[in-house]
């Protein structure tokens, strides 16, 4: 990049003003190149002021600019000049597009974190104050995310002022500002000294938690977990725990939904006894909430929660709810449960898993909703570690077969993706008996994506069980199918062959696979013939030079004289590759 001539730099600078968005974007993305070419001083005195005045209206350009400026300190002459980067970012903090503002705040934080303390006091903190007092809510929203950078460097009096300003933001007229204050409270609180934390921050927290717009309260929930980690356990129990328990019974399902997601994080902060007395009952209520969305969130955290509790508590209180959820009326609840329930096995131990969890696994494996079954199968390895696969395998097979034949191709696709995992967990024996036939059947699926995935699957199985096994159980079956009357299926087989070749190695490729491919070059369908050319090209690195010359080249030469233009094209491409290989060797 450094060696780039000056001419393109002039073009890039010119393009910053171009009408074409793509050109402006292109130029902004290479802002560092421009800066390097201009040198530090001109970057400070010309480029940055130019960017500050540039009120581009395109979000993509603004977003790119916000991002680039975040790493611009080296180009303006190092940390001592970092403050020249603040004005353009300050402007970007006030635009209406949320993602641009967020990026500008992120970049300001990045720059602020490197700035010298004196510069922070002289330029960064005033910027935060200006934004916080901004006329438009966008500026005030952005300011909330900067306090945690500004605060630590501020002298005592300024710290008091910053806390007061943040408190104002927590009571702003605009719910958008309050939401931002709620979202960033945890970060800010982490920088505030303990005595102020208990007084000032907690009163801000109270303001937010008591606001009647649930869109604000639900973000305050996130603050609970963050603040909880900062406070001493007894303060956490006294101040945060009651709020969280209240929130868990909030009128608004969105607030309860957030609690269901966050509750487990508070367990460690309050300690085991309050967890047992207050948080477990609250969590159990959420697992039994009226609103399916809340149960979905709660069910998704069941494993994380159980890992924190001791096994007795989990078995006594959580497990009965899990049983209920496994037959929940909402398929999405069951699906959320199925995606995590296998992880409970290590937390509960072998006996409880066999006695209590296994029946639930089995019932979920028979669920009418395919996602539920798939989620169980996808996490099979977790339970395998605890109780082994044998107890499950009887139920697994019908579930897999049913999914393999599901009428929705996306379901079939999902199960194919898990076949290598299943193969590794179930072992060769089980696989040979039950699943091998399925894998071949998918190669003849009506849907292209399935055939494509099936070809990949064949390759991954060969990798999993090794070439010897594949030679016996995969290769002959696959090669048989090259005689399928439908050309699309023959094409799938060619694709599978090219994938298998890399796993099987040179000998098998030359003796078994190559003849089939060569034979296919006489197919009556041009699509097959040019795919033969492509496959042959892919085999070049695998086979010997003699094979290249004796077998592959003559075949390609013949194809290169084919009446079909596409066949000729791909054949000549492959021939060029051969020439290239031979020349370089």
């Amino acid at each position: 990049m450094i060696d780039e001539p000056l001419y393109p730099i002039a073009v890039l600078i010119d393009e910053l003003k171009n009408e074409d968005i793509q050109l402006r974007l292109n130029s902004i993305r290479r802002l560092s190149t421009i800066a390097r070419a201009l040198g530090e001083e001109r970057t400070r005195k010309e480029l940055i002021p130019f960017l500050s005045e540039n009120n581009d209206d395109d979000d993509e350009v603004l977003l790119a600019m916000a991002e680039e400026l975040g790493v611009f300190i080296p180009y303006v002459g190092g940390v001592e000049y970092a403050n020249v980067l603040l004005p353009p970012l300050e402007t970007l903090c006030t635009v209406e597009e949320t993602c641009v503002r967020d990026k500008a705040v992120e970049s300001l934080c990045r720059i602020g974190a490197q700035m010298r303390e004196q510069d922070l006091v002289e330029s960064f903190i005033p910027l935060v104050k200006r934004l916080a007092a901004g006329e438009w809510f966008t500026a005030r929203v952005s300011s909330c995310g900067l306090f945690h950078i500004a605060y630590p460097s501020a002298p005592e009096a300024l710290k008091t002022e910053l806390r007061a300003i943040y408190s104002q933001l927590c009571q702003d007229d605009m719910p958008m500002v309050r939401r931002s204050a709620a979202t960033n409270l945890g970060k800010f609180a982490a920088t505030v000294e303990a005595p102020h934390l208990k007084v000032d921050i907690m009163s801000m927290f109270d303001d937010l938690t008591q606001y009647d717009q649930d869109s604000v309260r639900l973000l305050a929930v996130e603050g609970c977990a963050a603040l909880g980690k900062l406070l001493e356990p007894q303060d956490c129990v006294a101040h945060i725990l009651p709020v969280m328990v209240n929130f868990s019974q909030d009128k608004s399902w969105r607030v309860r939904y957030m609690v269901a997601n966050q509750l487990f994080e508070l367990c460690e902060a309050v300690g085991p006894e309050p967890t047992r007395l207050d948080l477990v009952p609250a969590y159990v209520r959420l697992l039994r909430d009226n609103e399916a969305e809340v149960r979905i969130a709660a069910a998704g955290k069941v494993t994380k929660f159980c890992r924190i509790l001791n096994p007795e508590l989990a078995i006594q209180h959580i497990l009965p709810c899990v049983k209920e959820l496994s037959t929940d009326s909402s398929q999405y609840v069951r699906s959320a449960l199925a995606s995590v329930i296998m992880g409970m096995a290590p937390a509960l131990g072998k006996d409880a898993t066999i006695d209590q969890l296994l029946p639930i696994f089995l019932s979920l494996l028979k669920d009418e909703f395919p996602d539920v079954r798939l989620n169980i199968i996808s996490k099979l390895d977790q339970v395998n570690q605890v109780i082994g696969i044998d107890l499950l395998s009887q139920s697994l097979l019908p579930a897999i077969v049913e999914l393999a034949e599901d009428r929705h191709w996306r379901v079939r696709l999902a199960i194919i993706e898990y076949i290598p995992l299943l193969a590794s967990q179930l072992g060769v024996g089980f696989f040979d008996d039950k699943l091998g036939a399925l894998c071949m059947q998918w190669l003849k699926d009506k849907v292209y994506s399935i055939r494509d995935a099936a070809a990949n699957n064949v390759k991954r199985l060969a990798e999993e069980f090794g070439p010897d096994w594949a030679m016996q159980h995969i290769v002959p079956q696959v090669l048989d199918m090259i005689n399928n009357p439908h050309y699309l299926y023959r094409m799938t087989i060619l694709h599978a062959i090219s994938l298998l070749a890399s796993v099987m190695g040179s000998d098998v490729t030359c003796s078994k696979l190559l003849p089939v491919v060569i034979n296919a070059s006489k197919d009556r369908v041009p699509n097959i013939k040019f795919n033969v050319a492509k496959v042959l090209q892919s085999l070049i690195p695998i086979v010997d030079q003699s094979v290249l010359e004796k077998t592959i080249r003559p075949c390609l030469v013949e194809l290169s004289e084919d009446p079909d233009v596409d066949v000729r094209f791909f054949a000549s491409q492959a021939l060029q590759s051969i020439d290239h290989v031979i020349m370089s060797s």
Binding site: D57, T94, V95, E96, T98, C99, W136, F137, T138, M174, P175, M176, R179, D212, Q213, D214, S215, D250, K251, S252, W253, R254, V255, N290, E291, A292, E293
Partner: protein, 445 residues
């Protein structure tokens, strides 16, 4: 509280009967001018401050007007209000800009033409010196940003919220949380985040499993002005449902239901048709909901679901004519309604370019009929107590299309081709903007 469809003299005591005066007209027709279909105004909306007014038309255009009477002096409007500035000033607007919001489209999958007609406009929170608004036609909602660049104003479509409605969108409404809005069609209400155009959440779905069981459709929906969790929607059966988004992600069950069954004695073939609510609006304080059906305006207290707190007869005189109105489809006309910022008065449109203003404060019997012309009060003379004047003596602007003038028992004429469907009340002052075909009239009191 008993409104009548005739004009009543000002009662003693507050609130005073308003004296309405003509302020402005935009796009006034000259005699003999044909109205182009595309020019007919189909939506009117003031922004929150009342400094801007937007109209949409059947040609898919949005026209913006800005207030001129507040900007020529140093003192802010709020200060002026505090000083109790002498009356005599009233909102005046000037044309600001216009842009093509929607174009006619064709849905090839369904073989359906999608009209460009703007069904609704809603102003959004200003995030900087630019103006932001949502506009929608039958299928697609667009989010616009209007900025001044050098000397000209530029409108840019910031986001397009499409492909979420199988039926025609009748309403859009911003939430007080500043980040979400709803869109409602005949059978569903969707919730959007303003920042996200590629997904929305269906929160109300009244579509029956079998379309043959369909008995009721959604006609209008609006968010509560301050409670971000509450919204109301009206139906073709004359009911209003209040739903609480906190209760459930899918709000198929309502929190409150407001309806007033027609007395069995007056039931007829038309009962269900005229019960259909064409528009609902929350009052600014959020306590009352105003609804318009074909015959009446009704004011509901959201704390009282036993019946409306007030009913204002708008079209009672048309009752004998319902058969004709059904024949010519006028019975399906969708009249909008609006409330004054102080909640003391309500207004709605009618035929012959008339609109009516009723006092709804307790003790008020204010009921004024105005005509969307430069002389709005001339209808005042046609009170039943006076002998009706011959209409032909009043020179009227030439109207398009066939006229079906008639005179009812009270001497009111009705002309079904000139209907005043859209109107809006200024958020802070007694000023009404209304559309008569392609003309926008502004009145003040």
């Amino acid at each position: 509280m008993n409104g009548g469809d005739e004009v009543v003299a000002a009662p003693p005591g507050p609130p005073q009967l308003l004296d309405w005066k003509f302020s402005q007209v935009f796009g006034e027709r000259t005699a003999g001018e044909e109205v182009q279909e595309v020019d007919i105004i189909s939506a009117i909306e003031f922004d929150k401050t009342g400094d801007h007014l937007a109209t949409g038309d059947r040609g898919g255009r949005v026209v913006l007007f800005e207030r001129t009477d507040t900007k020529d002096h140093g003192v802010s409007r709020r200060d002026l209000e505090r000083m109790d500035y002498p009356i005599g000033r009233h909102p005046e607007f000037r044309y600001k800009t216009e842009f093509q919001s929607h174009e006619p489209e064709f849905d090839y999958l369904k073989s359906l033409e999608i009209e460009e007609k703007i069904n609704k406009i809603r102003w959004c929170q200003t995030a900087n010196s630019a103006l932001f608004l949502l506009s929608t036609n039958d299928k697609t909602i667009k989010f616009w940003k209007v900025t001044s660049q050098e000397t000209s104003l530029v409108a840019r479509s910031r986001r397009v919220y499409a492909h979420a409605h199988d039926y025609h969108i009748n309403s859009i409404s911003n939430n007080s949380d500043g980040e979400t809005f709803i869109s409602a069609d005949d059978l569903r209400i969707n919730l959007w985040n303003l920042d996200i155009s590629n997904q929305s959440f269906n929160i109300v779905d009244v579509k029956p499993a079998n379309m043959e069981d369909l008995t009721e459709v959604i006609t209008s929906a609006e968010f509560h002005p301050t409670h971000c969790n509450m919204l109301a929607y009206s139906s073709s059966k004359g009911s209003i449902r209040l739903i609480d988004l906190r209760q459930s992600a899918l709000c198929d069950s309502h929190t409150k239901l407001f309806e007033e069954p027609e007395a069995p004695s007056s039931r007829s073939f038309f009962t269900e048709i005229i019960a259909s609510i064409s528009d609902i609006k929350f009052a600014k304080d959020g306590r009352y909901i105003l609804s318009r059906d074909y015959m009446t305006l009704k004011l509901w207290d959201i704390n009282m679901d036993s019946g409306p707190v007030a009913t204002f007869q708008v079209h009672e005189y048309l009752r004998p004519k319902l058969c004709d109105l059904y024949e010519n489809d006028s019975i399906f006309d969708k009249f909008e309604c609006c409330l004054s910022g102080d909640g003391l008065r309500v207004a709605t449109g009618s035929y012959s370019n008339l609109f009516r203003v009723f006092g709804c404060a307790s003790g008020s019997s204010e009921a004024t009929t105005l005509e969307a012309t430069k002389n709005p009060m001339r209808r005042q003379v046609q009170t039943p107590s006076r002998p009706s004047r011959s209409l032909s003596s009043i020179t009227r602007v030439v109207r398009r299309g066939p006229e079906t003038p008639g005179v009812d028992a009270n001497g009111n004429s009705f002309d079904f081709t000139t209907k005043l469907l859209h109107l809006a009340w200024h958020p802070t002052e007694n000023s009404i903007a209304c559309a008569a075909a392609n003309s926008l009239y502004v009145y003040y009191a």
